[in-house]
């Protein structure tokens, strides 16, 4: 019997499950071979340990092991995908970059015209919006181009501008009216009466134009007159607030 045969039969030998002859041969070899005797001792010690201690499986360690196994099975697939993706992107970008500066002459002309048109529109819109706050909104009648822009919503229509202006003026009126109220007790009676009479006159004018504009919002002249009347109202309040 050689060592290999002996070490294969050691475990069965220790369990006393070998034939007597084979068992005698193994025992003889173990007595002559120190290496196989050492293996047999180790086996014997393990068997002895297992028999004396109840080894319970560590559930946590077991799950950890299972998890590791699963991850090892799944990750290689993901890694493979991740490794493949940059390759696709790189190829798409490269393709786009390679075609980016390759325009036909018609595309170039169309682009230049588009940029010019957008710039003009933005300039007009900017100027219109700037001028709307500074000037009388009704001074100029909107042309077709402005009407189209108004419809699209790029610039405010005259009605919208008027409404915005009226709101602004109303805020100013409220401010000066509050100041006037604190001072009017100091005025002479005839001055107070004149103030009330004229303020009432302006309010009447404002009311009339308001009515006209409700019926016909496009009436630019009435819009202008309404604006003028509101300005006069502000001016009247401002002047009397100084008294």
């Amino acid at each position: 019997m050689n060592c290999e045969q002996c070490q294969e039969l050691v475990s069965i030998y220790l369990d006393n499950e070998l034939d007597t002859n084979v068992s005698m041969n193994v025992q003889t070899h173990l007595s002559l071979c120190a290496e196989c005797a050492k293996v047999c001792e180790d086996f014997a010690m393990i068997l002895d340990f297992c028999e004396t201690e109840d080894i319970l499986p560590n559930s946590k360690a077991l799950w950890c092991r299972i998890n590791n196994i699963i991850e090892n099975d799944v990750n290689p697939e993901n890694l493979q995908e991740k490794q493949q993706q940059p390759l696709v992107e790189t190829s798409w970008l490269a393709k786009a970059k390679s075609n980016f500066w390759q325009f036909t002459s018609s595309q170039v002309v169309a682009s230049v015209l588009g940029i010019a048109l957008i710039s003009s529109l933005l300039t007009v819109v900017g100027l219109k919006n700037f001028a709307a706050g500074e000037e009388n909104y009704a001074a100029a009648t909107p042309n077709i181009f402005e009407k189209v822009l108004g419809k699209v919503g790029l610039i405010a229509t005259s009605q919208q501008t008027r409404e915005k202006r009226i709101r602004e003026q109303q805020t100013t009126v409220d401010y000066w009216r509050a100041r006037v109220e604190t001072r009017r007790e100091n005025w002479e009676k005839h001055l107070r009466e004149a103030f009330d009479r004229n303020l009432n006159e302006i309010d009447q004018v404002v009311y009339e134009y308001d009515r006209i504009l409700l019926d016909n919002p496009q009436d630019e002249l009435s819009g202008e007159m309404l604006d003028s009347a509101l300005n006069e109202k502000v001016e009247l309040l401002r002047e009397f607030s100084e008294l």
């Binding site: 100091n186 009479r197 009347a229």
Partner: protein, 258 residues
């Protein structure tokens, strides 16, 4: 009865002198409080030909007249003796601001001004209430502004810039238009009458939205356009060298040939 009447008449005839004297005394006595209530303020300043007068009154009539003297003479008739009048002469500008000078004083009362200025003066007068009259002024500008009630009368004016605006009251302008000049007349509730030479040339924007009563008289012509169903007239008279804007929100506008 007849005898008694004759007796009474005889008595009155004898006392005629006494009655006459008493009547005179009574007349002066009744008008005396008015005289004593009106305090007069007067001050004169030597002035250059093209002096500027800035006046801001509260209530009362202001009359400014051009004269052939290098002097500004201010006369003010003050209703309330508490009213402060403190004219300032600042480098060619004579300034009177009753609103600022009497700020916080409750009963300022009316102040009626009569101011004489050199012909070529510029005049800017404002008041909260009361009439404004400017006569014989030929300076750079004439501006008259009434915050509430009062008429504006500008007579024999020859200035490059003229502006007259009030709320309730008429505006009358009688004068010449300069080439390149700007003329603006505006009232909320008042008639505007403009008397100008027949050879005047100007660009006109006249608006009378409530009445549509715009009478161009001798200045109506082919170069006039009616806007907004006649609420506004825009047009050119002559070569249109001056600019005239006239607005009467609730009353009429009339042009008269000078």
């Amino acid at each position: 009865m007849i005898f008694e009447l004759k007796k009474l008449l005889g008595f009155l005839a004898k006392k005629k002198t006494t009655i006459l004297c008493l009547s005179v005394v009574f007349f002066f006595a009744s008008s005396a409080p008015d005289i004593s209530a009106q305090k007069k303020f007067s001050k004169s300043y030597p002035a250059s030909k093209n002096v500027r007068l800035l006046l801001k009154n509260r209530t009362g009539t202001v009359t400014v007249e051009g004269w052939d003297r290098a002097e500004v003479k201010i006369s003010a008739f003050v209703e309330n003796s508490n009213t402060k009048i403190a004219p300032e002469n600042l480098s060619g500008t004579i300034q009177i601001n009753l609103v600022k000078d009497n700020h916080g004083i409750n009963e300022v009362g009316s102040v009626n001004f009569v101011i004489k200025v050199p012909y070529f003066s510029s005049v800017n007068i404002e008041t909260m209430m009361g009439n404004l009259n400017v006569t014989n002024v030929r300076g750079g500008f004439v501006k008259a502004h009434i915050a509430t009630d009062g008429d504006i009368t500008l007579t024999n004016i020859s200035a490059e810039n003229v502006a007259a605006e009030n709320m309730t009251g008429d505006i009358f302008f009688d004068g010449e238009l300069h080439s390149g000049g700007i003329y603006r007349f505006s009232t909320t509730s008042g008639n505007i009458n403009l008397r100008i030479p027949p050879n005047s040339s100007f660009l006109l924007t006249a608006t009378a939205p409530s009445t549509r009563n715009i009478s161009l008289g001798a200045f109506s012509g082919a170069n006039m356009n009616l806007i907004g169903n006649g609420r506004r007239i825009i047009g050119k008279v002559g070569d249109g060298s001056a600019t005239m804007t006239v607005t009467s929100q609730r009353k009429s506008i009339s042009f008269i040939r000078r």
